[in-house]
């Protein structure tokens, strides 16, 4: 049990001594991404090999949370950022284990496992040498790839729960002032000032009050909350305890989406361990303040990311939003004052308490403070999670950290803000990324998903995709969203099938306005954004689909045919076996042909051809 700062320091010292006794520490990323790339097998095999060499006392192999560079998983880091190995075990697991043992025994750097960038002559040993990491400012993610998320002692040894102790010495109102002055804004999508929300909840009448962490990360393409809940769950818990104390609440809830089983598992362990240590429960640090946290699992409904729908879901009902004439800070969960923040927002709180609001305020732009985690995915070379100061340009994120477009294709657009956001074209790549500039462009920050698209992506198809998503996920409570989005989908679907009519685009714009005005919740009101932003920046592409019945990117199946250029085909036999319907015929070193009657236009042949012989029109 930890009841004083001395005991907290004692535990930290004990852990530091324990890890200090090892001559080598090997950190294996065991986030969802690396696990699916085989990280657990690497962990087991490496431990076996180390035991066989009788090195178990000298070498500590630990499972950590997500390191961020999921593209190159499984990732292993030696010591304090000394060496980063990537794609370990992807070619031959036993060989790679032998190579790892070499590094374990005498520190030999294995060239084969190092990260390789564009410039093949450049050697990247430490993560600090890799542009993906060097360009980041890691605050919220700082400990993600460092500590074992299932061990509370590790978190404490890195300064964990000191912020709770400090906060409990402060006046609750002073904490709220700090959060207000820090400029922290909600990381989940809305970008509302966190401190202002806390104050409203504290000032609202009614008991008890509730504190909620929104871990229903439904934006497709965003996974920073998953990574935080899996990689550093105590940071979220710590933020919530501080929030509870400031607001005057003793009850916390974490709502995690059903698709994140590992996050639920690690949060459950973290809560249990914090209770064992007295850091959750009654009388934390002998302050007289008590706080508990319960986990609620979602049921695979996107709309439950909306605050009122989420609260309804916690109450055991369907996740349908309600109108917010009365804010949830006044009447939320069970009609009591409830303060809901996103997981990443909660994880920022301990840092602000530890380092002071002035420090947080010094990072970012005048209106958007601090750092923000983005999930950089789609057609970018280095996919994964990046944490950068607000105000950095899209260009820096996509081309410097992300390494540019895969296959060196042409950049077309970047989608931010998920189904509530929009597509931003190339001419705005030098725009600083913050809450307000993205909104100005007709998109939004959202929770930080950044999906990069190249010349092979059709913007009409992207609009169709988001509409389909929203048709599936609309809760059905209000008519503008339920029926309006469906009508928009039908129009765009027709355009993609070559049945678009003159006037369709204008009709879409009209419907969009009605949905924006008439929908009940923010998700409905913002549902037309993906269509409006693609019309705004890529109107030509809509017109070509409608007037010329052509899909310039070769995505819309009804408007595309694939052929093989006999001049360029070398008969390398690469495309034929990859074709899922076996419609490519040809012999080795002879020109291949596509049977158009069987072709399903999946584009696999185009993607695998190394000679540019497959063409689409």
């Amino acid at each position: 049990m930890i009841a004083s700062i001395e005991q907290l320091d004692g535990m930290a010292a004990e852990y530091k001594q324990k890890t200090g006794a090892y001559s080598k520490i090997v950190k294996i990323c065991c986030g969802t991404g690396c696990i699916s790339s085989g990280a657990l097998r690497v962990y087991e095999k490496l431990n076996e090999a180390i035991a066989a060499e009788r090195l178990t006392d000298k070498v500590l192999v630990k499972k950590t949370g997500c390191h961020g560079l999921c593209e190159r998983g499984p990732i292993i880091v030696f010591g304090d950022d000394e060496i980063l190995y990537q794609t370990v075990g992807k070619r031959n697991l036993d060989d790679d284990i032998r190579l790892l043992l070499k590094t374990v025994k005498d520190g030999t750097v294995v060239e084969n496992l190092l990260y390789k960038g564009e410039d093949k002559t450049k050697r990247h040993v430490s993560p600090r040498d890799i542009p993906f990491y060097a360009g980041q400012t890691r605050v919220v993610l700082a400990l993600n790839g460092v500590l074992d998320p299932e061990d509370i002692g590790e978190y404490i040894s890195f300064g964990g729960y000191r912020a709770v102790h400090k906060a409990l010495q402060m006046d609750p109102v002073q904490i709220i002032e700090w959060i207000q002055k820090s400029g922290l804004r909600g990381r989940g999508g809305g970008g509302f000032l966190t401190g202002t929300k806390w104050r409203s909840c504290r000032d609202a009448s009614g008991e008890p009050r509730y504190v909620i962490a929104n871990g229903d990360e439904g934006d497709p393409g965003a996974f920073m909350d998953r990574s935080l809940m899996e990689g550093n769950p105590h940071a979220v818990i710590e933020g919530m305890i501080i929030g509870g104390y400031a607001i005057g609440s003793n009850h916390g809830f974490i709502y995690v989406r059903d698709e994140y089983p590992l996050a639920v598992h690690r949060l459950s362990i973290a809560i249990e361990k914090a209770k064992e240590q007295g850091l959750l429960g009654a009388n934390i640090f002998n302050s007289g303040f008590g706080f508990d946290i319960k986990i609620y699992r979602g049921g695979g409904a996107f709309v439950c990311g909306e605050s009122t729908a989420l609260m309804s879901s916690i109450e055991g009902k369907t996740g349908e939003p309600r109108a917010k004439y009365i804010h949830t800070v006044e009447k939320g969960l069970w009609d009591k004052p409830s303060n809901l923040n996103n997981v990443e927002t909660w994880a920022c709180v301990p840092h602000i308490i530890n380092r002071g609001w002035e420090w947080f305020d010094s990072i970012g732009t005048p209106q958007s403070k601090g750092t923000k985690v983005f999930s950089l995915v789609g057609k970018v070379k280095n996919t994964g999670l990046v944490e950068v100061p607000m105000g950095i340009t899209l260009n820096e994120i996509i081309f410097k950290l992300g390494g540019g477009i895969q296959g060196d294709k042409r950049f077309k657009a970047v989608q931010t803000g998920g189904p509530s956001g929009g597509c931003i074209p190339g001419e705005y790549l030098d725009m600083p990324v913050d809450f307000d500039s993205l909104t100005k462009l007709g998109s939004m920050m959202g929770s930080g998903g950044m999906i990069v698209m190249d010349e092979r992506d059709c913007m009409v198809d992207v609009a169709r995709y988001f509409l389909k998503f929203l048709v599936d996920e609309s809760c059905g409570k209000c008519t503008p969203c339920r029926e309006g989005v469906r009508r928009m989908f039908e129009i765009v679907d027709n355009i993609c099938k070559g049945n678009g009519l003159k006037g369709d685009v204008e009709h879409l714009e009209e419907l969009a306005r009605a949905i924006q005005l008439g929908s009940l919740c923010a998700l409905g009101q913002s549902a037309p954004n993906p269509v409006l932003s693609t019309i705004k920046y890529f109107r030509d592409e809509y017109n070509i689909h409608i007037e010329q019945k052509r899909c310039p990117a070769g995505v819309c199946k009804a408007l595309t045919t694939f052929t093989i250029d006999p001049e360029k085909c070398t008969g390398c036999m690469r495309c034929a076996p990859e074709c899922p319907v076996a419609c490519i015929s040809g012999e080795k070193k002879k020109v291949h042909t596509i049977d158009r009657s069987k072709c399903i236009k999946c584009g696999t042949c185009y993607d695998v051809c190394r000679f540019g012989a497959v063409k689409y029109e």
Partner: protein, 155 residues
Amino acid sequence: MEVDTAAINTIIDKYGKDKSYLLAMFQDVQRQYRYLPKEAIQYICDRLHIPFSKGYEVATFYASLSLTPRGRHTVHVCLGTACHLRGGPNILDTFERELNIKKGETTENGLFTLESVNCLGACALAPLVRIDGQDYGKTTPGSVKKIINEYGESS
């Protein structure tokens, strides 16, 4: 069908008969039966003193609950934005062709149920497929057959 009331009682009691955990109870029942039998909804509603209509409303609202029996293995093909752009729809098409069922259906031998999902949060490894909690990243139409073969009749 008859449901095992003892097992369902254990689930209800695990959550302290708290109505707010209705969804969690349904999910736990589904884990046992691989779907949510109507009789289980009725039984839980009776014990929690809530109308069946309310329980049915919750059971049909959440995508993760199924009122029809599912196959031994559930294939979730991710169709999040990143997966969509990197060929997710082709992966779903390939599963449909190889298993000879449409999305939402179960194979005749009861081995597979095919579903799509709107984002599993492993977008860096798109296109992603999850089968019974095991993730397969960077899948291709060619790798689909191999994945299916991992789950033979014996597994």
